[in-house]
Every structure is written in C-alpha cells, then in structure tokens.
Symmetry: C2
Subunit: 341 residues, 2 copies
DNA sequence: ATTAGCTGCTAATACGCATTAGCAGTCAAG
DNA sequence: CTTGACTGCTAATGCGTATTAGCAGCTAAT
C-alpha cells in the first residue's frame, strides 16, 4: 500500500553517513576504487543495504551505464498460440536456459497492438530496452532485417538468413545436409525414383531443403514428381505419387506426410511397404501421430542456447559476426525401408 | 556496424531548429501544451523525426516518467523445462495475449544464476525494471509474498493465495467448488464410500481441494480412505483402496490416477466398472494417456489473461486489491460411472 | 498608457545511478 | 621542512527524457 517510497542510494548514504557516490562504489566499484574504501565503511554500508532491502533501480543503472542484462526476444508470430506453442517452446526453452546461465533476463516483445502485423521497428521500438535481441519466426521481413544488419544494435537470428545488406549473424539448423543425408540413405536402400512434396518459396528453410535434395538429384537420382502442396483430399497427391512410380517420397511438412499416409492406408497401400515416406524436419508432438516418420531432428533447444550465447558474446565483446549451422541428425522412424524388389 | 550513434532529442532539436523540450512536447505533450505549438513547427519537427527514424529511448523515458509498459513475469520454477512446459505454457499464452492487447511487453525473470533456488528478492532484484509483475509457481515463498504485499510494487499472483500480511491480489481457479461439484456428482451416482488420494500440505491449491472435498463429507458422505501419496509400485495404494471398500477415488495428481488405474487393470479390475476415478484438475497433455479421466478444467489461459488485466489495472489506476476465482468446469471423461449395485 | 492575456517557445530541473576529478588529511622519504 | 605518495572519501557531472516555470513579444482591453 502506502509504504515507503522507493529507496535510493541517497537514502542509504544518509543512513550510513556517507555520500551517494560511496554507496555506489561499495555496490559495484572497480577493484582499484574499492581498495580505497576501508573494510569498516564498506561493512557499514552493506549493513544498511541489507537491513533496508535496497536494490538499485535497473533503469537508472542502464541509463548511466548503457547495459542492463536484458535480452529481447522478438517473434514474428505470437509465441504462445495454441497452434504454434510447439514451434516456439523448444527455442524458448534453450534461450531461457542459456539466459539464466549467463544471468540475463528475457524481454518478450509482444509486437504492437492487436491484430496488426508484427514489426520490429514499430513506432514504439521497445527493442532498445534490451541490450540486444534474438529474432525468430517463420517469416522474416527482409526490410527490417536489412535495417537491423545496417544498424549497430546487437542481434542474432534463429534460423539461417541470407545476407541482407551484409551478413546476418545466426544459428540455424543445417537443413541442406540433413535433407541430403536422408536422400542418400534412401538411395542406398535402392530408391532411385524420388518425389518431393513441399512448397517452393524464397524462405531460407525451404530453399535449403530443396538444395540438399537437388544435390542428390544432380548426382544421378531421379526426381519423378514435385508437388507443391497437398490438397484437402490427399487423394490427388497420392494419385500423382502412385502414377509417378516414385518409391520414396520426401515431405517438407509433417502434416502432408500424415495426410498422404492416411490416404494410402485407406486405399490399401501401406508405408513403407508400397513407398517410403520421409519428413524433412522434426515436430515436437510428432509422437501424437501413430506413425513414427523417418525424418531429421531439428535441434531447437540447442539452437536457442547457442543463439543466446552468441548474442551475449556480441553484446559483451562486440564479437565478429558468426554464422552457425547445427547438424540435423537423422531420426530412424519406421517409414523408410528397402525398395521393394 | 559502426553506424551513427544513437539519435537523441537534442539531435532532432538541432535539425529542426528548436529546443529539446519542444521536441519532447511535439512527441507527447499534453493537449494544452500542444495547443501552444503552431502547426507549422510541429510539422517541421515531425518531419525531421520521420526522416531520421528517431525513436525515444524507452529507458530514458522510464527514467523520467517512472513507467515503461513492461510487465514482469516471475516463475518460481524455470518456465520452459521440458517437464514443466505444459504447466506454464497455457498461463503464458493468456498472459502474452492480454499483454499484447494492452500494449505491454513481458519481462521473463529467469531468477538468479544456475542451480540456485529462485528468489524474487535476489540480490539483483531485476523486478523493478517492470512496472509490475505476475508471480506464478507451485511453491510460493511466504516471506517473499509478505514482502510484496507490504511493499508498494504492483503485483498479481496467479493462483489463490492466503493473506500474507494483508490480502494478496490474485486470479485463481476455484478448486474448492470444482472439487465439490465432482464429489457431489459422484454422490448423485450413488457413491457414498469415497477415497482421497493426494498430498496434505499448506499450499492453497491442496487446501482448497481438500476443503471442497471435506465439505461434502461433512454433509454425510463417508471418507473411507485417505492416502497421501502413491508409492512406486501402485499396488499398495490399490490394495488399500480395494480393502477400504471405496467406490469412488479422488486423485489430486493425474499421475497417481494413471498409475492406480494401470495397476488395477493389471489385476483384472477396471475403471469405472470396479471403482470410479476422478482427477481434481486438468492436465494439458491429458490426452496422451489413453484414458480420459473425469476431472475439472483449470482455465489456465483465462487465468493468465485476467491476471494480466488486473495487473495493468493496478499499475495504471492503482485499483484496489481484487481476488478472483474462476470457475473450474467439470470434464466429463470416462472414469466416473454409476455405483455398481 | 498601463495592464492583462495570449502565443511560441526555451531554460532548468528531476529521475537514480556510475564515474571521474580532486580535496583534505596523514605519513614517510629526502 | 618540503615533497610526494597514499588514504578515505565527496562534489560534480552525464545519461535522455518529461515537465514546469517563465520569458519575450504581441494584442486587446481598461
């Protein structure tokens, strides 16, 4: 309620019979400065601080010093929508863990207002409260990214990003090689006629998967079908797959794989007996679908951790720009088998 | 990289040929003050602001004004550990939603350092960077809560809290009535010999469930068994239940219910044929267990939303202390049936 | 002609802290 | 006895903004 007004260093100083400056020095003076304050005085000040429960106002601190041990987290989509929770949660887990380890707090930037599209440089630009920020989301705004790159505000993207007026510091998953490894594995099992089901677009995650895939095609495998998206009744896509003679089908989206597999089963076909199905990525609640798809793992937690560590490096040491791609290990699953002979 | 140093109002002022104060007034002066600045000057200033892309430093703003549109979120346990993610996520969802609607950002307080127990008033006390805070967690520290109540820092607890040196503002779930409703429903189905499986303790959530339960007992139902916890092999608990002659068993923890049900099945008994099982609460991934337990719903998202709204009220209007209990609706489930005759 | 009131601004200050320059006192060396 | 070094502190300043008091110039009313 009413209570005492917020304590300041001046109050402490008065109580301890010293000056405000001394209080500040006791709290966080450089060793050289501290050396000049005798034990006895320090203890007196500390004692007052302890008994009053004083804590420095972080805002004023930041004002004076420029840093405040806060990391901003900007998500281009709300971080906790029911549907997306599973997408962001693992990243946040890793981020929180590392932030805590480094003794930083997290500022979740909620974006401006309701309904409106989220923008980093919205009018308030709250970003600067934090010492630096992590940016994540499926869809990046290129113009904003460019502005970030050109500015001097420390940030790290989660997920690989193409240059935008300069190299973008990021920690991403190595989708290209993750994909490549799975496709090669399929070839090793005898699959030569391959189908690819997934959107085309300029998003890096899409491009990378396709690059990994097409590299193997260039080495001799045969792309017999490329479907952009699976329609509502998955029947058409399935028809196309069957007609193409593909023996292994690669899906960018788990949902597509699920639908096609269901359609196949409904038609008396089975995976992987009749064709193999591989998902290019991992999904948190994949276990909910009754089938364990062969896929590659996206190390989301680790991405969060490393991105956070990188950001701290950039804030504290003005480290050079780094770009890290983490290996996406294959996930065995049950949907990739030998080609039927 | 290098780039321009951060712009300040002084820079804008210089460019527009006015004083810093004028810039500030143009940006957010009271209508009465604004009225005294002619259109022409305002436009000149606005123009410079727009072309330079200036944005006010939120930190300095807060320094001067005392508010920063940030809500702190303190969790007594890490918010995103794999095991707990499901506990906190729904709350955070609601919180984020309402925060965004009210145009506040969220500061997730990670607690100090690794391993150490989390404390609100840890030495850094970063809390005050936010205008107010939400406190959540299973286990509250009474001393800290007391200190919060006695202080003048706005906060709202999620989950009902007993007075601690004064009433605690909170938004909680009405576990007492949620429990009561389920117990009465069981009685209506003929169950008179009831068992209660759950910890005893002073935590409000535990107390409330027990209160709701014991109210019905006081009205004539019979408590034939009270188990504090289910041991590793759930057999003993099951033995006790069978021996007690209970026809309906109430569990505080879903995990206990799952184990007992499994043990029962292993022994040829089945739920709800041989005895009914009711869970006093809801669990996010309850759907993962193959059995849908009869339970009550904890409206976690709504709790998050309302707590956030309440906090904003307290920050902006110094509203009086409110205590809200949200109704916990029963969840039908498959584990409560007529008493076997 | 004096006053009152308005317009269009600016100077000055506060916010709470960190930091630097430097003051007054003591003590040892030269 | 002077100088220099060291001790134990403090005064003063800056960080970028919001806000208040008030100044100078003008007009209209008395």
């Amino acid at each position: 309620m009413a209570g005492t007004k917020r304590l300041t260093q001046r109050d402490i100083a008065k109580l301890a019979g010293v000056s405000q400056a001394t209080v500040s020095l006791v709290l966080n003076g450089a060793p050289t400065a501290l050396a000049r304050i005798p034990q006895e005085t320090r203890e007196r000040v500390q004692h007052v601080i302890r008994t009053t429960g004083y804590v420095a106002d972080p805002i004023a601190r930041r004002m004076a010093k420029g840093l405040n041990r806060i990391l901003g987290v900007f998500t281009y989509e709300p971080a906790f929508p029911s549907e997306q929770a599973d997408f962001f949660t693992p990243f946040l887990l890793g981020i929180e863990e590392e932030a805590q380890a480094q003794n930083y707090d997290l500022l979740l930037l909620t974006g401006a207002g309701v309904g409106r599209e989220r923008k980093i440089f919205a009018d308030g630009n709250r970003l600067r409260i934090a010492d630096g920020c992590l940016v994540l989301g499926r869809e990046f705004d290129r113009a904003e990214l460019r502005r970030l790159v050109l500015g001097d505000y420390p940030f790290v993207a989660i997920g690989r990003r193409e240059d935008a007026g300069g190299p973008v510091p990021y920690v991403g998953g190595d989708y290209a090689n993750g994909t490549r490894a799975l496709v090669e594995k399929a070839r090793a099992l005898g699959h030569e006629k391959l189908a690819y089901v997934g959107p085309s677009g300029s998003a890096e995650s899409i491009v990378d998967r396709w690059r990994g895939f097409s590299e193997v095609i260039a080495e001799g495998a045969e792309l017999v079908l490329h479907v952009n998206e699976v329609g509502r009744p998955a029947g058409e896509a399935l028809d196309a797959i069957v007609a193409s003679g593909a023996t292994a089908v690669f899906f960018v989206e788990l949902a597509d794989a699920v639908r096609v597999e269901a359609a196949a089963r409904a038609r008396g076909l089975s995976v992987p007996e009749d064709f193999s199905a591989i998902v290019l990525g991992s999904h948190v609640r994949a276990e909910r679908s009754h089938m364990q798809f062969t896929a590659f793992d996206i190390p989301r937690e680790e991405m969060g951790r490393q991105a956070t560590a990188m950001l701290v490096r950039r804030i504290e040491g003005a480290a050079p720009i780094e770009q890290i791609l983490l290996t996406c290990e294959p996930v065995e699953g049950q949907t990739l088998a030998n080609k039927r002979t």
